[in-house]
Point group: C2
Chain length 337, copies 2
DNA sequence: CTGTTAGCGCGTTCAA
DNA sequence: TTGAACGCGCTAACAG
């Protein structure tokens, strides 16, 4: 910057002012500065700017995994909004481990991020509400934490699940619907199970969850056991993409026909759902939108620099996409909602 | 840091030395410093460290899109290696646009990244070799740029494609195999097409590429036209995941049976490939490995701080995963390779 | 409208 | 072994 100032024949402050448009500068001085910048290929050092005490123009994102398309899409959405706001994004993964999440969040603080967007690893053991994060804006998404101060973006997990299960019950007469979950620690598993449970209870039926479908092998074993029973389940409701895939695979290996022998609905839509045979009926969540909204919330906070007692809790709607795996005919119509 | 020094009753330099282990410090002084750090919850300001002229302990990644599982997986791999090296990652997307890529790369320089890993948007118009990047370590992957100085990680695009097409020709007797590409600008499209082309020419057959399958609609139109011909193609070779999906969807809509009426092999494996009906035969590339190797290369450069005339060019092997869509029986065996 | 002074938090250089 | 002074590149606050 000194060089620029010298070449332009002005003081460093004038250069700073030209760059930030923070104060009026005479047209000719500005012109000389621009030429000097061009000539020297000068770029301001963002580190120094941040150090000087203002904003780092950087936010952090912590997701469990990046290879999961759900999280990747969210990261993409956030990054897009960040760009629109002139921000950069530091991204890292927690591997669903609260300790790792905490360590990464601390590291981000050390890098002086202006805000943090987190998909919390474990709601119960989250340490994000510790005092050290008091002066950092935090938005959580997909899963909430207890701390009321954080803005949170969720989807209609419970009502979406309930609607899907009711579709199986009311339109297709299913009595024995089994819930396939990943594990019982995840907030989303519990919320979606609760929707399923209510639909079952309200229909006078017995909820039957399986929370041990964390791998293909486990899922295959569970499904095989179920299918071999005297009165096997006539439908499955799968918690997410992964469990849907495991269940599909297990059913395929067992030679069980969908939807003739058993019906299936999954939570979370994906690209190949309508290419699979049969097309999968799913509860679609607005993934990209979740990311966008979370990022917008964060930038609002950053702009106002407010730390409210109670953060916003935004719940985005989901949509039941009727295809064939539930037993409906290929009309391509959505559920009336 | 001043506070820590005061509480510990030492100078700031002693604190610095304890933190960096950059010089011997008496055990008792170190102990007092540790306690003061603990008490105050002190964390060093990474910005200031970076500003002081050394490393920022941050690398940048630029990928075209994040919602593409291929790129997301690579980002995940890089992030994992970065963590192992105590580095943070700034991540952004170029949207396949060289201008955007250039702008983002510049921004990363302003943030003083120690190195950059890029999936170049367009090999021909890349501006990564400009002088401003002379002092930044850059590794490219998936696609090369002309600049010989960069380390590059690629996969066997050409030989992998050739092998797949030869499998269609030799094991299943296909004569008319059509190549489905996304567009002709992408390096990977050209490389994989070249493998296909050679296989066809060596078999005395006419290569037939379609480079206009950039969307479902376009692909469906192309496939529909082809299928209606007098002697329609008996097999398709799809450039990547996306074109495979488009082609599959088009064939499905037209009611064409795979592999009975036409065979299909795609480049790049994906989770659902063995759940689809029929299971997809694919050329599998070691995605995670590509990311890992690229990151290792970058950290080697950062450690040695060398800027060689000629960078390494590493080509990772691919594997033909034989499933059912090529016409093979469901034996589950891989090709002999 | 413009330049000067000071300091953000750290690490290097030097002297004690 | 330790501390004091200086400067990395930038900008807020004040003078001019």
């Amino acid at each position: 910057m000194n060089d620029v100032a010298r070449v332009a024949g002005v003081g460093t402050m004038t250069v700073s002012r030209v760059l930030n448009e923070s104060a009026p500068v005479s047209a000719e001085a500005a012109e000389r500065v621009y030429r000097a910048i061009e000539k020297l290929g000068y770029r301001p050092n963002e580190m120094a700017r941040a150090l000087r005490g203002l904003k780092s123009r950087t936010i952090g994102i912590i997701v469990p995994y990046l290879y999961d398309p759900f999280f990747a899409t969210i990261a993409h959405a956030i990054n897009t909004v960040a760009k629109e706001n002139g921000y950069s994004v530091i991204l890292t993964t927690s591997n669903e481990d609260p300790d790792s999440e905490y360590a990464e969040a601390q590291l981000m603080l050390q890098r002086r991020v202006d805000g943090l967007i987190v998909i919390p690893a474990d709601a119960h053991r989250s340490r994000l509400s510790r005092a050290e994060f008091d002066k950092t804006h935090i938005v959580t998404l997909d899963r909430p934490v207890q701390d009321r101060r954080f803005d949170t973006v969720l989807v209609q997990n419970q009502s979406g699940s309930k609607r899907a299960v009711q579709h199986l019950q009311r339109e297709h007469g299913h009595k024995r619907v089994v819930f396939i979950g990943l594990n019982k620690h995840l907030y989303t598993v519990r919320a979606r199970f609760e929707g399923y449970r209510r639909a079952m209870l309200e229909a006078g039926l017995q909820p039957e969850p399986s929370f041990k479908c964390g791998s293909q092998e486990l899922t295959s074993a569970v499904i095989a056991g179920l299918v071999r029973e005297k009165n096997p389940p006539t439908a499955f409701f799968c918690f997410n993409n992964l469990t849907t895939r495991y269940t599909l695979r297990a059913l395929l290996d067992l030679g069980v026909k969908i939807p003739e022998e058993v019906a299936l609905i999954g939570f979370d839509d994906f690209e190949l759902a309508e290419i699979l045979h049969p097309n999968l009926t799913v509860v679609r969540q607005p993934i990209y939108e979740v990311g966008r909204v979370a990022a917008s919330l964060l930038f609002d906070r950053i702009k106002c620099n407010e730390f409210p007692e109670d953060g916003n809790k935004i719940v985005l709607p989901v949509e039941l996409i009727i295809r064939r795996s539930c037993g409906c005919k290929p009309s391509g119509r959505n559920a009336a909602d």
